[in-house]
Amino acid sequence: MMEDRPQRILLPVKANFMALTTLLAFLFNLLPWRDVTGLPDMLALVIAFWCIHQPRKMGIGAAWLLGLMMDAANGALLGQHAFAYSVLAFAAVQLSRRILWFGIWPQALHVLLLLLGAQLLMLSVRLSAGGAFPGFVWLAGSGIGALLWPVVTFLLLIPQRQPEMVDADRPI
């Protein structure tokens, strides 16, 4: 159980690093994927990550703005990503205290539900606006995103795991 595991006390997060990782995820989504379906929505994943780990620094407003940028860059229905991302951010902030008590794979399961929920919201909005059904492969993106959760957790927490100063008494 949780009490048996050693826990690392993390350094406070730097806002610049949060902005940089969000920007990188945005760029990943903007890569010219020609006809690849089932790609994970990295921006949604990173938004979920920061909402869970830093619910006071990342929130619904930022997610909404990022979603709007995604819409404009994708030529999608304006407001579609903004809608899904703001609901995703809300759910992630509300669940943040619960999720972090679990191990890494149960956390990924929570994230799977969050990402899938966001995708289903977009699906329902677009189908009601007269879009074509993209196929079930598209929903696989959430599964891949959830599988990437441990990787993302490892990568995005690296700066907070660095010791402030290393000396003989404190090797790590």
């Binding site: 920007l23 994927w33 619904i60 994708n74 407001g79 703001s86 809300f90 007269g130 993209p134």
Partner: protein, 302 residues
Amino acid sequence: MDHQPPAFFNRGPAPLVRLMFFVVLALLLMVLDARFRYTETLRAGLALLAYPFQRIAMAPVQLATGVVGFFSSQVQLQRENDALREKQLRAAKDLVTLEALAAENAQLRRLAEARERLPRKSTLAEILYAGRDPFSRKVIIDKGRMDGIQPGLPVVDDVGVIGQVTRVYPLLAEVTLITDKDQAIPVQIVRNGLRAVAFGAGDGATLDLRFMAANADILNGDVLVTSGIDGTYPPGIPVAKVVRIERDAAYAFAKIACVPAAGTNQHNQVLVLAADDKLPPAPQVEPAQERPVKGKRAKRRE
């Protein structure tokens, strides 16, 4: 006044209130965008903001393609060269006859005092990437308003029609492919001149000929070309080939599936044809006569 919590604990409005605010804002935007198209300025501004990021994201891919292209083998180039030369030889013969035919046609047209069909001006554009929106079939080309691209212009490749420009940004333009759901294009069957309208089927690969009577004279393998009666597409450009016909006595219309002639997701270079400026002005739409409306269906038909 004294009951306010100290600023230290103040976290702004409750999360649920904030969520409701942003969700309502998003829904409002979506309705304005989908139903009324009021958001084009906002979209253009945001797209311009996102443009540098798109360029940055595209750079590594372009570099990789460049490197791969540089190292593509000599043999492959040689083979391609041979194939092209053979094709050119074969085409040269056709070209000679075509030139003669074109001259003859022009002569006949002048005789008949028909309006001469001038070749339209065209802009060569490159497909930057396929649209990332999984709900529609679109590609983004690298020419925009700065290059005189306007919404509604037809886009063709060397084989046939690809689609139509639907949204123009300052530096980019968005082309909706003919395979996009409900994208319509007026066509004509080469064999017998029958006119129809082809719609994208929504699966990204085929088109449907809708509203054709079950006994319409259409065969498998019929070639569809643009009919040109819409004034948007020039007439006679190949569009698609009929591949499957289902005639069911239970329905008034036949189900006819076609495969697009142009490689809607293969090529990189496309031509954007300029608008035909010799068209007569569009007829004035008469305001619909006031009629007692019965039921929902009648209302929708108006």
